[in-house]
Subunit: 338 residues, 2 copies
DNA sequence: CTGCGTAATATGAACGTTCATATCGCTGAG
DNA sequence: CTCAGCGATATGAACGTTCATATTACGCAG
């Protein structure tokens, strides 16, 4: 299709009987205009509904006011339940400062890095927002090498730009273990999923630190996958051992669901017979019976901090000197007992 | 920041000892080049990592290969659980045909329509993708009036462009009621939330049609809000009435969670004492006990159809003549009994 | 060996802005 | 009365493409 052309600066200028530059100034440097000219031009702009063409402006200025977010590939049957909330927060934060979010996905047969390069070379965006960042994330290395602005949800290596924001999961899980210790639990189990994502590792580290600090006996279990069946199998094993733990810390609410299911099958009452705490605060946790004690991610603060760092990098050319570690918020509910 | 300028067509042309146009042709009309020139130029493009500047290209051609998606405002504490999966599907479908998704959000103090106008006037995108479309959605009216391409997840009025895709919720709920009737249930309740969203209305219509068709006795209940407490209150009332229904159809999985909670409190066993069916197939439904019978939305088919319609409208200038109604997929699990 | 048709490549203009600079009109010092 | 100085507005060029058109190269009929 063609011909979706609209009102240009020239149209407005002609209508107002002034030059292009005057219109441009009315929008970008109003103090340069005589007040009456400004008023006349502004009204005309309003009336005609003139907006500078984004492409033309970008071509001249080299800036797009767009942030690329390479969306993690997700199983549509089992989507990351935090994605919606995170995107919501990011879009809102970016919108407040006049930026928009462009979702990115490598084309079939294209690598992550190639997809980034394409967008960089085509000058489509000003910066990247990365999430699910691994400790030695190739995307981070790539963007660092290219000298292209980015901000990361998840820590980056010390020799890379420290433009990251992360949740202090270690501390949060230590506190979770502390809650259990305070309630008199001695034997505590940790339920994680396989895979070495840094957030999983952090939660595991937090568990170990908490156990050590409170002198508890800790056991660790791994679920082989995310499916209900596999999960329940592991969990039942966990609950059946000779020295059954009196408390379980699940590395995610998702895993805690397996504990609920297994406990029901084993006739164990969560809250009374077994304390359970988890991580993520998925929306459904309040509906469980008993409701789940968990850690809420401060998604809005995370998003705001990420966008802030991004804008700073893009507009001032200054990379933040240090990452930002935000505390998780303990949400205490009956699943850990009274 | 400035100076993020990169390789231009001119650089490649100079390196290859040919003119701009030859480079342009290598990318856009390769058949015009002598095979050996093409090969030489292509290699050089590859080596230098040249990509046409998106802004310059858009400025000239008037097309952006970007689709705007005005994201529904969402409560971050209780985000729409289908959003992630829908976006995932949309990004994937759009990516396959070389389009990207730009998330849009009205600025503070800006109306939905103004936000659309801004993007249209600034020629930032080629088309809009709308979701959560109401029967007389002002955005649809606005885009129709502006003659701007869009596709809608949710039906539009007959006098508007029929570029929509929707789920045949009526039919799906009729089938749900059919399942219950086949199991001998006579008294069936319908649990909805307040608010007149078309999808809720469809599900209600489906319930009424199903009840009529099978000669059942139907009652309807409305939850005043989405909070666990309010929901459980209504649900308990539903379960306590003199003529307690033997089956419940919840208009969403979310509402069904209230039934699980209330049933537990009332000592009623779902599956055995009470059949329960719902709608949406949230990822957690398989973890419930007993697992929930529900209707799965064909998100990938929906996304593919929406993007297909959009591309057709943008590239051929042809608005589809009729909407597309996709069937929901019944997922039968133990909550409706054996 | 000229001239013609076509294939291959080159050139100028245009897309709609903004930047750098030029011009204009006016006030007030000399 | 002249003109420096300044505020207000105008003009030309440039950003990096692609389109329309021009130019060149080449094979071949006459």
């Amino acid at each position: 299709m063609a011909a979706r052309r609209g009102i240009t600066i020239e149209d407005v200028a002609r209508a107002a009987g002034v030059s292009r530059q005057t219109i441009s100034n009315a929008l970008n440097a109003p103090q340069r205009l005589k007040p009456e000219t400004l008023e006349r031009v502004t009204r005309l702009i309003e009336e005609l509904g003139y907006r500078p063409d984004q492409s033309a402006r970008s071509l001249k200025s080299g800036t797009r006011r767009i942030i690329a977010y390479p969306t993690p590939v997700d199983d549509p049957a089992n989507p990351n339940p935090l994605m919606g909330g995170f995107l919501e927060a990011v879009v809102a934060s970016a919108g407040e400062v006049g930026y928009r979010i462009l979702l990115l996905r490598p084309r079939p047969g294209q690598s992550q890095e190639q997809a980034l390069d394409e967008v960089i070379a085509a000058r489509t965006v000003d910066a990247f927002l990365l999430s699910d960042v691994m400790r030695d994330d190739p995307r981070v290395a790539h963007l660092t090498a290219a000298g292209f602005p980015f901000a990361a949800f998840g820590r980056t290596m010390p020799d890379q730009p420290q433009s990251w924001v992360d949740v202090d999961s270690v501390q949060a899980v230590i506190e979770l273990v502390g809650l259990l210790a305070a309630r008199g639990h001695r034997r505590v189990a940790f339920l994680a999923s396989v895979g070495a994502q840094p957030w999983m590792e952090d939660r595991r580290d937090g568990f170990r630190a908490g156990v050590r600090r409170h002198g508890l006996v800790g056991q660790e279990f791994s679920a082989p996958g995310d499916g209900p069946a596999e999960l329940v199998t592991v969990t039942r094993e966990l609950l059946r051992g000779r020295n059954r733990p009196t408390a379980v810390v699940a590395a995610g609410d998702w895993l805690a669901l397996g504990v609920y299911a297994a406990a029901r099958e084993e006739g164990i009452e969560i809250g009374a017979d077994l304390a359970l705490a988890a991580f993520d605060d998925l929306p459904l946790t309040a509906f469980l019976h008993p409701a789940l004690t968990t850690v809420r991610l401060p998604l809005q603060r995370i998003a705001r901090a990420l966008i802030g760092r991004l804008i700073q990098t893009v507009e001032d050319g200054a990379t933040p000197q240090a990452g930002l570690l935000l505390p998780g918020e303990l949400v205490i509910r009956p699943s850990i007992g009274p």
